[in-house]
Amino acid sequence: MSENVPKISMQGVKKAFGPKKVLDGLDLDVQQGESVVVIGGSGTGKSVMLKNILGLLTPDAGSIRVDGTEVVGMRWRDREPILRKFGMLFQNAALFDSLSVWQNVAFGLIEGQGMRRDEAHAIALEKLAAVGLGADVANLSPAELSGGMKKRVGLARAIATEPEILFFDEPTTGLDPIMGDVINDLIVACVKELGATALSITHDMASARKIADRVAMLHQGRIIWTGPAADIENCGNEYVDQFVNGRAEGPIQMEVRQP
């Protein structure tokens, strides 16, 4: 496949829930091996964007290509090989609470790829070690873990199948700043190790600065600015400026009714 075909390409993606337009003509390309972070306020459709790419939601209009293959309207059977390319870390980790930690990590290997359980167990321990968790947590149930540990197990599960594309949905939300930074470091290390393409969404600027090669700002259903992570402080876009500096005053008006 030629170098120029983006790993993920979204063009004119629209998605509305009832009268509420969440994505309104979103365009974004993610190149092979690049780490793109999409920033934007709560409820601007960041998660909806990821779910559209994965086929968990179907866009109302527009095109989404993964490695040049159109995925909108694909049937499950055709989608399966595409889904194998993805790994995702969910906002609240979304661990299967009926399974133990190692079974969670090995899930994609056992159920998705049909690997033998003892082989998958060994890989699961290896991946847990990669996120700094020892073999002693492998047999715990997810309910026994702290928030930071859950995130790390979720990360281990996302990288267990060595996917080409990694999605991170608010990886640091709900963690203390130190654990947040630990997760950021792990994400950077894992993405580098796998040589994966990464697409993250966050509203945590510390996280965005750390894991992004390129930052894109989502506002009112469109990407209004995109540029290298280093340029974000002086991008000249007043929307981005307001968001990065976290000011209530500016061109972005929050829908908060004044008392």
Partner: protein
């Protein structure tokens, strides 16, 4: 469709069979025995007026196998299992575990729903067969020990009037009910929205819709088997 095409998950089907079948045994057994007992007692007070006490054995065995065992077992299991399925799948939905299944290239219909529906269809007939036996036994106990019937005459009458079709129709009903219970539990769980409250609503809806459908389909299956006979 997802029930008949691979991949299958035998381990998950087995777990659901144990959950639906084995753990429902006490509640189904108790329901059956008291139903059989009260049936014998009520028929006696009714039939004694016409000197037709001898028909109690027939009434008990026919009512239990054709109607009461499948319907009451179905309703009890709907409360136990339909609710549990809706709550479990609903929680998985609102905590994004179902989305996580998809990203791990596992089809949630095959992994979550097909094993439950298969287990429901396979397990309910076994439960109802056991309920048939226990229900008839309940009627026997009351007839012999309270109403003073002769045990061998009672058993003879029970056996004499029992047609294979009575039991078979009851087991077919049980299969249909098992399908409905699992389908409603999974459907409402899968489509639950909005956190804890959504899961609560899904659970209620699963039990109520499964119960209503059981009663409606009970009529439909009865009509198919016995209309015009």
């Amino acid at each position: 469709m997802h029930c008949v095409l691979p991949p299958f998950y035998p381990r998950l089907i087995l777990r659901q069979i144990i959950e639906i079948g084995y753990y429902s045994l006490p509640v189904v057994g108790l329901t059956a025995i008291f139903t059989g007992m009260v049936l014998a007692l009520q028929s006696y007070t009714g039939f004694a007026r016409f000197n037709a006490e001898g028909a109690i054995a027939n009434v008990v065995v026919l009512s239990i196998t054709r109607e009461l065992a499948p319907v009451l077992a179905g309703l009890m299991v709907a409360g136990r299992i339909g609710a549990a399925m809706a709550a479990e799948i609903g929680t998985m939905r609102v905590t994004e575990q179902i989305d996580a299944l998809t990203t791990l290239s596992t089809n949630p219909f095959k992994y979550l729903i097909a094993p439950r529906i298969l287990a429901g269809v396979l397990t309910l007939p076994c439960l109802v067969l056991i309920a048939d036996i226990i229900g008839v036994m309940g009627g026997y106990i009351v007839s012999i020990h309270k109403l003073g019937f002769n045990p061998s005459v009672y058993l003879h009458r029970t056996w004499e009037f029992l047609q294979p079709l009575d039991v078979i129709s009851g087991l077919v009903k049980a299969s249909v009910f098992g399908f409905l219970i699992a389908l409603m539990g999974c459907y409402h769980g899968y489509h639950s929205r909005g956190g804890a409250e959504g899961v609560g609503t899904a659970t209620t809806n699963a039990v109520v819709s499964a119960s209503i459908l059981i009663l409606a389909f009970n009529y439909v299956v009865t009509e198919i088997f016995f209309a015009g006979k």
